[in-house]
Symmetry: C2
Subunit: 210 residues, 2 copies
Amino acid sequence: MHFTEKDIAAMESRYRAALINSVSGFKPANLVGTADHDGNTNLAIISSVVHLGSNPPLLALIIRPNPVERHTLDNILNTRCYSINHVHHTFIEAAHQTAARYPKEQSEFTATGLQEHWVEEFAAPFVLEASVRLGLELREHQHLRINDTHLLIGEVVLVDVPSDCLGDDGALNLSAAGTVALSGLDSYYETRRLRRMAYAKPDQPPRALE
Amino acid sequence: MHFTEKDIAAMESRYRAALINSVSGFKPANLVGTADHDGNTNLAIISSVVHLGSNPPLLALIIRPNPVERHTLDNILNTRCYSINHVHHTFIEAAHQTAARYPKEQSEFTATGLQEHWVEEFAAPFVLEASVRLGLELREHQHLRINDTHLLIGEVVLVDVPSDCLGDDGALNLSAAGTVALSGLDSYYETRRLRRMAYAKPDQPPRALE
C-alpha cells in the first residue's frame, strides 16, 4: 500500500492519526507522574520518551498542549521534576485509562487505582506497581512552533530497577522486567528478546552476544 | 536496585551508557537512508525516531555528532530528504552492522548487503528488504547545545506499508509487519500484540477492542 503526500493530506483525520502514529515503529509505554505545588497528583501515559544522551543522563519527551497532557506540562514547568514509570503488562488497562480527559482536580492515580509511591525529597509521585521507575529534573523546555508541541529535556537523577533484570554490564532486560511496547494510539505488545548483538566494527561480520 | 544521581555520575561510562540507554523503555528500530549530491548512499540504524504530530505528519529524530551518524546528518542537511525503514526480524544482523564506523566513501548498503530501492523524484534511497518504508522531507533542524546532539523534524511525504498489516482505521499491526523493537544499545525483540484498547473516557472503564 503506497501513500503519497497528497494521499496523506486527503485522509480522514482519525485515519491519518492512526496511520502516522503507527509508522514510526514501536514506542516506549511510560506513565509520567507529576504533582502541583499543593501535592495534587497527575499521571499520564506518554509514548514519546526518547534517549538523548547518557553523560549527562538525559531523556527528552514531547508533550501535546491538549487538555490531558496540559496538566502534566504545567506541573513539570512549575515543579521542574517528574517521574517516568514503565507500563508493566499487568496494568495496561489502568495505564491506558490515564489518557481520558479527567478534570485537573481529579488525580489519575485515584481514577485508575494505580498507587502513588513517594521518595524522600522528590516532589513528584512514582507508580508503586511499576517495576522500572525513574526520577527526572527538568533541564530544558522548548515550545516547538512547527506544530505547537513542547519538548522537555530532563536529567535522570533516580533509577529504580529490578536487580534480576539488570545485566553485569548495565543493560536492562526489558522483557524480563515485564515492560510492554506500544504502537499507534492504543496497541500494547509483549516482547521476547531475540538477540543481543556485539558492538559493530567495520572489519568484522555481525555477531550475536546471546 | 536503586541508583541516585551520585551513583549514576560515578558509574563507569560504558555501564552508564548501557543502563541509561535501557531505561527509556522500548525503542523503534529504524534504518535511515540518505545520499549526498553525488548519489553516494548512507544507511544508519537510529533508535530515536519519535512521533511529533499527524497533521501535518511530522516525525522527529535525534542524531549524535559521532563519526557514524555525522554522515547521515550531513546528507540530510544537504539534500533535505531521508528515508525511514523499519528493521524486520530477518535482517537484524545487517541493520545492526550499519552502526560500524565505515568511512564516508563506503556505503553501508554495500557493506551489509541490504539493497537500495529508489523511488522516482525522491533523492534518498529506501531499503528494499524493509516492509515499512517512509520518505521524509526535512522541515526543521536544531542543534541541542545541552549535549551537542541534533534534533531533526521531518514531514512524512511517502508511506509504503504491507496492505495486509493495515487496519480499516489506519492502524498498522507492527508484529504482523515483522518490525522489531530495540532496547539499550544492542538488544532486539520480537513482539506479540496483547491488546488494543478503546479510546479512554473519564466516565467509562477501560475496554479492550481486540
